[in-house]
């Protein structure tokens, strides 16, 4: 039997959901692989929803909103872009970025809706089933995705993405405007750091570990691990529990 992708769509109430309804009224046919969750605005789609959907083993996630400039809530779709960019950056770490997509469909674009959905289904068919699909999920990948979800939910990332438009398009509290390039660098660094920190935290939640063991498990340089452990210690998220021989063992607080 050929692979039939399971896709989840988040459609904004005012444009894309109405466009999907119009496809129906116009009897425009497309494959039935997508299940839809209606939200009021594409900007309502919390990055967490996308990470959770992928952990469910769904093969693809489609977020749809109003065209730029036509958002029912003025600029909700601008915020959706920022969140989505962050999601893509995170998912690139685990090569899942091509399983999520963001597009704009207006209330009058029934044809466009059906075309986009058909295209996405086909693209996902070409990529193949999610490595996290229900029956035999890739456990290591699942761990990584969990770390990603947690990292994306950290204050640092959420506050940075929440402020992106303000600081790149207007000014920060010091009256400085940050260029998109500098912002992207900031975000990339934050994503990289927080991802590693989340992985460390998840490991330590299972059992106390040494820097060396952590480094082996998440396959990064022990110095890098130590650096991040110290940050986490500063945040009171980890502590040293004991010293075995000369090796400190760290524990989640």
């Amino acid at each position: 039997m050929s692979f039939e992708p399971r896709i989840l769509g988040f459609l904004c109430n005012w444009c894309s959901y109405a466009g999907a309804d119009l496809a129906g009224v116009s009897r425009i046919q497309y494959p039935p692989n997508m299940r839809v969750i209606r939200v009021m605005c594409s900007g309502r789609v919390d990055p967490q929803f996308i990470f959770e959907a992928l952990q469910q083993g769904l093969d693809g996630v489609y977020v749809m909103g109003c065209h730029i400039g036509d958002c029912h809530y003025l600029e909700g779709n601008h915020e959706a872009i920022k969140k989505f960019n962050m999601v893509i950056k995170f998912l690139s770490i685990v090569n899942l970025e091509n399983r999520v997509r963001l597009d704009w469909v207006s209330a009058s674009e029934g044809v466009r809706f059906s075309e986009l959905v058909s295209e996405f289904i086909q693209d996902i068919k070409n990529i193949g089933p999610s490595p996290l699909r229900r029956d035999c999920p890739d456990k290591r990948l699942m761990e990584k995705l969990k770390a990603i979800e947690r990292a994306a939910a950290s204050d640092r990332i959420r506050a940075l993405v929440g402020r992106e438009r303000k600081i790149t398009e207007q000014e920060n509290v010091y009256g400085e405007k940050v260029s998109q390039e500098i912002y992207d660098e900031l975000l990339n660094t934050a994503i990289h750091d927080e991802y590693i920190r989340s992985r460390i935290l998840i490991l330590l939640e299972k059992e106390p570990k040494s820097v060396k063991d952590i480094a082996a498990e998440i396959e990064i340089d022990p110095n890098k691990v130590l650096e991040n452990i110290l940050v986490l210690k500063g945040r009171a998220q980890v502590d040293m529990s004991e010293i075995v021989d000369i090796t400190p063992i760290y524990v989640r607080t």
């Binding site: 039939e4 399971r6 989840l8 005012w14 959901y17 109405a18 999907a20 309804d21 496809a23 129906g24 009224v25 009897r27 425009i28 046919q29 494959p31 039935p32 692989n33 299940r35 839809v36 969750i37 209606r38 939200v39 009021m40 605005c41 900007g43 309502r44 789609v45 919390d46 990055p47 967490q48 929803f49 959770e52 959907a53 952990q55 469910q56 083993g57 769904l58 400039g69 036509d70 029912h72 809530y73 003025l74 600029e75 909700g76 915020e79 969140k83 207006s106 209330a107 009058s108 674009e109 229900r134 969990k146 204050d155 959420r158 506050a159 993405v161 929440g162 402020r163 438009r165 303000k166």
Partner: protein
């Protein structure tokens, strides 16, 4: 303020056949049986039409008999039928927000007609997701909003004037803005009106006279909407009247901006002299300037083609009206109408066509495939019936061109945050159920702003829009959606005061109050949910679209237990 309800969910699921629209493709009985097996679903049934009296009574009966506290209907689309079902469950004492809609028609059976099995599986998943969300629904209170009993009409054409006079007659303070320097819109360029043949100027004078006599009706000519803020009942608008800024508070807005005429530049030899548009012919007739005997009219110029696929609906009748007028005045005139299809709907318009035939006006059909050739003094047309090209001489060639969307529709749509359709006409909330409403509360539409209409229809729609608007204006207070964002008491300690919510809120509905706490002003919040999705602590909740509710749908769709 809502609070977590502690009663156990008892869900009822109703699967609608929608006649054969859903039931014709998928097995609704089986779907209802499946629904009955879902967690916390205590009752399920299928109905031929759940929205019918019988269907609604079945819901009410089941709520009583099975002590249901959540209702799921799987049928058409929430965009049209959610209010009906909400009202239904409210009638038997359930909070209307304890209803969940599942779309298995517009987004399922209608679009997967050739894949019954795929459609069934999708419907099954959607019902499962819908029931999962229903279990997490919370009762909500609606927000009360004071209504300013003041109307703003954009567009001083026949639809706008009709709407303005109607609302004004009902006693509401009314403001009408017109971008041109006089009232009348397209009426100003017309000669006579079909089917009654009265003078357009007579009708216009009648309107203008009534408007001048009206009290509490203010006209702003050479004026445009500049800015708009607020919400139903309380729109604060700024009008730019030739540079002067006027600020108003209005309760409702009617869009009656009409349409523009397509000018056939570089088409069929159009030159505005010998080869003119119907509108230019009307001016000639108005000035009693016509002195030619051979007149050829070409229909559907620039219409019903790839670029503009729609029928402009008024051009056939305009051509007939003008041809009959000329023929009556000058029985010796030779008038030929080259048409692709002739649309003369209804009792009166078809009679005009018969009259034209009786007067000896010639009708020749042409097709898009075999193009017309316009030469200096003749038109070559392939006659479908004869199967050969014929030559029709002319002294005056009149091109019937369609009404098209105004160029500034886009800007206005953006300002009002209402949608346009693919030809840039304004798009109503629903073509049948809400033909004169926009999806945005308190904004209405009438006349040729929506698609080309004749004068009679424009008047009718002006009245229709006014009547819809008065359903709001006639109340001192109305209730609006309670689906706003809020910072729940139990999440207040999470808030770190980072203020990103304040930054992303497009409505300035979030402030920091005197206690240095985040406060969300309910009446200003429109419930987009962006603050909730952005909040660095995920402390802000979006009522009716809570994280818990959306996640329950995701988990039901995925089908894996939450780790």
């Amino acid at each position: 303020m809502s609070k977590k309800s502690d009663e156990n969910p008892r869900i009822g699921v109703f699967i609608c056949h929608c006649g054969s629209n859903i039931g014709g493709l998928i097995d609704c009985k089986k779907l209802a049986e499946y629904s009955g097996t879902l967690p916390e679903v205590v009752y399920s049934e299928d109905n031929v039409y759940t929205c019918s009296e019988t269907g609604l009574n079945a819901i009410k009966k089941a709520i009583k008999d099975y002590n249901l506290n959540r209702v799921v209907v799987a049928s058409c689309t929430p965009r049209t039928h959610e209010p009906l079902f909400r009202e239904c469950i409210a009638e038997v004492g359930l909070n209307e927000y304890l209803f969940n809609f599942v779309n298995i028609r517009d987004q399922c059976t209608w679009v997967h007609m050739k894949d019954a099995e795929g459609a069934y599986k999708k419907a099954r998943d959607l019902v499962k997701m819908g029931a999962a969300r229903a279990a997490k629904l919370e009762p909500l209170d609606k927000v009360s909003v004071q209504i300013q009993p003041v109307a703003l009409i954009i567009g001083g054409g026949v639809a706008g004037m009709s709407a303005a006079l109607n609302l004004n007659n009902q006693g509401y303070e009314t403001h009408l803005i017109e971008k041109e320097d006089q009232l009348g819109g397209r009426l100003t360029s017309l000669h006579t009106l079909f089917p009654s043949n009265i003078d357009a100027s007579e009708l216009l004078a009648n309107f203008v006279n009534k408007i001048q006599l009206a009290k509490n009706l203010t006209i702003y000519i050479s004026a445009k909407l500049r800015k708009i803020d607020g919400f139903v009942g309380n729109y604060s608008v700024e009008i730019d009247k030739a540079g002067e800024i006027i600020k108003l508070m209005v309760g409702i807005i009617i869009v009656a901006v009409g349409a523009s005429l397509f000018i056939p530049k570089h088409m069929l030899g159009y030159d505005g002299k010998k080869r003119i548009t119907q509108q230019e012919l009307e001016v000639i007739l108005k000035n009693n300037d016509l002195n030619t005997n051979n007149i050829v009219m070409i229909q559907c110029v620039g219409a019903r083609n790839e670029e503009r696929s729609y029928c402009s609906s008024v051009c056939c009748m305009t051509a007939l009206k003008n041809a009959i007028f000329i023929s009556n005045k000058n029985p010796g005139a030779h008038i030929t109408i080259l048409f692709r299809d002739l649309y003369t709907p209804g009792t009166k318009y078809e009679a005009m066509y018969r009259k034209a035939r009786e007067l000896g006006i010639l009708f020749i059909r042409y097709t898009e495939k075999k193009e017309l050739k316009v030469e200096e003094n003749e038109v070559r047309v392939f006659n479908e019936y004869l199967g050969e090209e014929i030559i029709v001489p002319y002294d005056l060639l009149v091109l019937s061109t369609p009404l098209i969307a105004n160029e500034d529709n886009k800007a206005l749509a953006r300002l009002l945050k209402v949608p346009l359709e693919s030809n840039d006409f304004f798009l109503e909330a629903h073509v049948k159920l809400r033909p004169n409403d926009f999806a945005t509360d308190g904004i209405f539409i009438g006349g040729a702003a929506k698609w080309p209409v004749d004068i009679t229809e424009a008047i009718t729609q002006g009245y229709a829009a006014a009547s819809r608007a008065s359903t709001i204006l006639s109340h001192d207070v109305i209730e609006v959606e309670g689906t706003t964002s809020y910072l729940p008491e139990w999440n207040k300690n999470l808030c770190s005061g980072c203020e990103v919510c304040i930054k992303v809120c497009p409505y300035k509905a979030i402030i920091k109050n005197e206690h240095d706490e985040i406060e969300i002003i309910q009446a200003l919040c429109k419930g987009c949910g962006v603050c909730g999705a952005t909040c660095s602590k995920q402390a802000i909740e979006i009522k009716h679209f809570t994280n818990e509710q959306i996640l329950s749908e995701i988990y039901a769709c995925g089908g894996r237990d939450v780790y």
